[in-house]
């Protein structure tokens, strides 16, 4: 058994953590996350230069990573810094482009920004029940439908769209200039958009794409779990510090047993969340990938809500303010449960195996 990080990954984590703490500190984050374009093109280019995108793809494809633990290393660091850059769509796009045997050079260099448009208003999670349709006219594919809350859509040059194409789901590539994207900011920072497809010309990347889409969603959900672990650690440390310094009734509030026990419970739950994320990362590429990711995303969903609510509560009024960074961590934590499947959705995926048995 070996729970130490490999030398390469430790280097990756150090590089990214150092870059983020030196260049993406709180002031920068606060000034970037809530105003268009909801991320920093300059910082995006820096991250590419540091080779962070290369960690998302395997060596054979020009990257130097691509395994579950590479993904968790990158996203945990992003979570810790509450970084609003649209790395998640980049990861998911990389999975789809690899499945399509298409070039990912533009993605790895950071020159081409991608968004991945799967969910719709009535089918927000998973690939079942998607209504967006693709049809062919004179040799061109045309897409029609509306993709809802597409992360990074407002900043993307290319959008990879899941659509019904006769026999099954296909993945299509759409140029952002060809489609109407109504962009907006998010309550926890960063940007998304509605992608309004109205006979939009598209290129077919993958036909019969169920497996490729599920894989992209799995990797996306794993990344969110790792991001959550970074967010959770930060919230816990901040709260612990506050409990030691804030005084009421002539003593530190951390001296009240009513709060001490809750902190111990939180720490336990956060360690559990870390463990399930490690488990899921270890199972990427195996036949247990999807179910393990669902287990992780379910437990993460429970833990982020508990921790965000408890951290705010134990701070008192201060954590209710925009000025205090923890409040933004709490918002991000809670909203992670609204991306790529919530607690209940993933519980259903875990339960599905019982039905099959």
């Amino acid at each position: 058994m070996q729970f130490e990080m490999s030398e390469e990954r430790r280097l990756l984590a150090d590089t990214l953590n150092r870059y983020l703490s030196e260049n993406y500190g709180w002031e920068t984050r606060a000034a970037t996350a809530y105003d268009p374009p909801y991320h920093s093109p300059k910082k995006w280019a820096d991250l590419a230069e540091l080779g962070i995108f290369h960690a998302l793809a395997p060596e054979a494809e020009g990257g130097f990573g691509g395994a579950g633990f590479d993904v968790t290393t990158v996203f945990e660091a992003l979570g810790r810094a509450l970084c609003p850059e649209p790395m998640l769509p980049a990861l998911m796009a990389a999975r789809l482009l690899l499945a399509a045997d298409a070039s990912i050079d533009g993605l790895l260099s950071g020159e081409m920004r991608y968004a991945v448009a799967v969910g719709e208003a009535d089918a927000p999670y998973g690939i079942e029940g998607l209504a967006t349709e693709a049809r062919q006219e004179g040799g061109t594919w045309l897409l029609r439908g509306r993709k809802s809350v597409v992360y990074g859509a407002q900043a993307a040059e290319r959008i990879l769209v899941a659509a019904q194409a006769g026999a099954g789901l296909g993945v299509f590539e759409v140029k952002a200039v060809d489609v109407e994207v109504a962009g907006y900011g998010l309550i926890d920072g960063g940007g998304a958009g509605e992608v309004l497809l109205d006979d939009t010309p598209a290129t077919l990347l993958i036909g019969d794409a169920d497996a490729a889409l599920q894989d992209a969603l799995d990797f996306g959900a794993l990344a969110l779990c790792a991001e959550a672990v970074g967010v959770l650690d930060h919230m816990f440390e901040t709260t612990l510090d506050y409990l030691k310094t804030r005084k009421q009734f002539g003593r530190s509030i951390g001296s009240f047993q009513a709060l001490q026990h809750r902190m111990v419970d939180l720490k336990t739950e956060i360690e559990q969340a870390r463990s399930i994320t490690i488990l899921a990362a270890s199972r990427m590429g195996t036949d247990q990938q999807s179910r393990s990711v669902s287990m992780a995303k379910n437990l993460i969903g429970r833990t982020v809500k508990l921790t965000a609510e408890e951290a705010v509560q134990m701070h008192g009024g201060i954590a209710m303010t925009w000025e205090y960074p923890l409040s933004h961590y709490a918002k991000r934590a809670v909203m992670i449960d609204h991306q790529l499947g919530d607690t209940d959705y993933h519980l259903e995926q875990v339960m599905a195996a019982y039905r099959a048995a």
């Binding site: 009535d122 309550i187 009734f249 609204h338 919530d342």
Partner: protein, 395 residues
């Protein structure tokens, strides 16, 4: 045992319903039900309508222009208002200062201030908390030093709700450093136009603006603005906190939020199925409904006790804890029910053509985050537990 209202109470409820149907403006209830911020004018408009009917001061006796209602009548009124989506009565003048003046104020103070609360001439805010004095309110340090026929105030208050609309603030100030901290506190009325006062906005996590910091530098306040006796302000503060606890369970808010949530879950689709048909979501919804049904009865049981004993007992702290927990659970489910559509930052632009969340639900996540305050203010839920273990359980 009879869980029904008496015939008189039922008649009263019908009267309240008819009034709300006729007089509550649709623009106001739309805003309330969808979680939009009410403007100062909105709140003043509703106050004026209630005042016109003589129903504004539900906690005051009739001789001062109040309704003189029993606890059960007050409850009926509040619940019906919540269900109809009426704006909440701004509590600082009506539910807090009014009862304080009636109990502790001088004749002149009553004659001057009470009518001005009713007709909207004065908007009061509450200056209790300080950066260093939250749960431990008695440690407050804002000082008032006697100088001839004035007090001179120096210090800082914070978390002042709706201070931006107010022209006056009632403050707890330190007038003595002798003895126990509780023994040197006084209750002062301050005109916010007095030189030396500066109010700064605090933005809350979801982006809204409802609280402020208030700074006092050599602010001169006439001694006749002292309420009760010097250094006996703590008695008033404690009295006021029990009044703050009227409608503490917020049952009406929860019933209304539950109905809205059920309608939303019927409307939302998850991969071809209605969300309300999803057993996991339905289980969460049912559990809150069960808690809420029990809460209604717990609340009525405590009301009946209050009716008998003349005032709410310490058990009302249980109502605060459970009532806020239920409201927060409902806000939590209303956010979850939207899935990804809960994520957009609330803005007018997202409410028209672009409608991402169903009409009336664009602020569900914002409301969830904002209502984390419910378990923090008015005596945090931890402080309520401390009160209960001491007074009710005598531990």
């Amino acid at each position: 045992m009879d869980l029904n209202f008496t015939p008189e109470e039922a008649t009263f409820r019908d009267e309240v319903r008819a009034f709300l149907k006729a007089e509550l403006p649709g623009e106001l209830s739309d805003k309330v039900l969808s979680g939009h911020t009410l403007s100062k004018e909105d709140m003043e408009r509703w106050h004026a309508i209630l005042n016109g009917r003589g129903w504004l001061a539900s906690t005051w006796p009739t001789e001062f222009g109040g309704t003189g209602w029993s606890p059960v009548e007050k409850h009926i009124f509040e619940e019906e208002c919540c269900l109809a989506g009426a704006p909440r009565i701004v509590p600082f003048g009506l539910h807090m200062l009014g009862p304080v003046l009636i109990r502790f104020g001088s004749k002149a103070q009553k004659a001057h201030y009470l009518p001005r609360i009713l007709d909207g001439s004065d908007w009061w805010c509450q200056g209790y908390s300080e950066p260093g004095a939250g749960s431990d309110l008695a440690s407050l340090r804002t000082s008032a030093v006697r100088d001839g026929d004035h007090y001179v105030i120096n210090g800082q208050k914070t978390w002042t709700t709706l201070g931006q609309h107010a022209n006056r603030i009632f403050c707890l100030v330190r007038t003595s450093k002798e003895g126990k901290p509780q023994e040197g506190i006084s209750f002062l009325l301050v005109d916010l136009d007095t030189p030396g006062i500066e109010m700064r906005p605090i933005r809350l996590l979801e982006g809204g603006y409802e609280v402020n910091e208030v700074f006092f530098t050599d602010v001169r306040v006439p001694v006749e603005n002292l309420v009760g006796e010097e250094n006996l302000g703590w008695t008033i503060a404690k009295f006021l906190l029990t009044h703050e606890r009227t409608n503490i369970a917020g049952v009406g808010f929860s019933v209304q939020a539950f109905e809205q949530l059920k309608a939303l879950a019927t409307q939302q689709r998850r991969n071809g199925k209605r969300l309300i048909d999803n057993p996991l979501f339905a289980a969460r919804l049912s559990e809150v409904e069960i808690d809420l049904e029990a809460m209604k009865i717990t609340n009525l049981r405590m009301l009946a006790d209050a009716q008998k004993n003349g005032r709410p007992g310490p058990e009302s702290s249980m109502l605060k804890i459970k009532g806020t927990t239920i409201r927060q659970a409902l806000n939590d489910l209303a956010r979850r029910a939207l899935g990804p559509a809960a994520a957009p930052f609330p803005s007018e632009a997202l409410e028209g053509n672009l409608a991402i969340a169903p009409a009336g639900h664009t602020r569900n996540a914002a409301r969830y985050f904002n209502n984390r305050k419910l378990s923090i203010f008015g005596g945090s839920n931890e402080i309520q537990r401390n009160i209960l273990s001491k007074t009710m359980l005598e531990l």
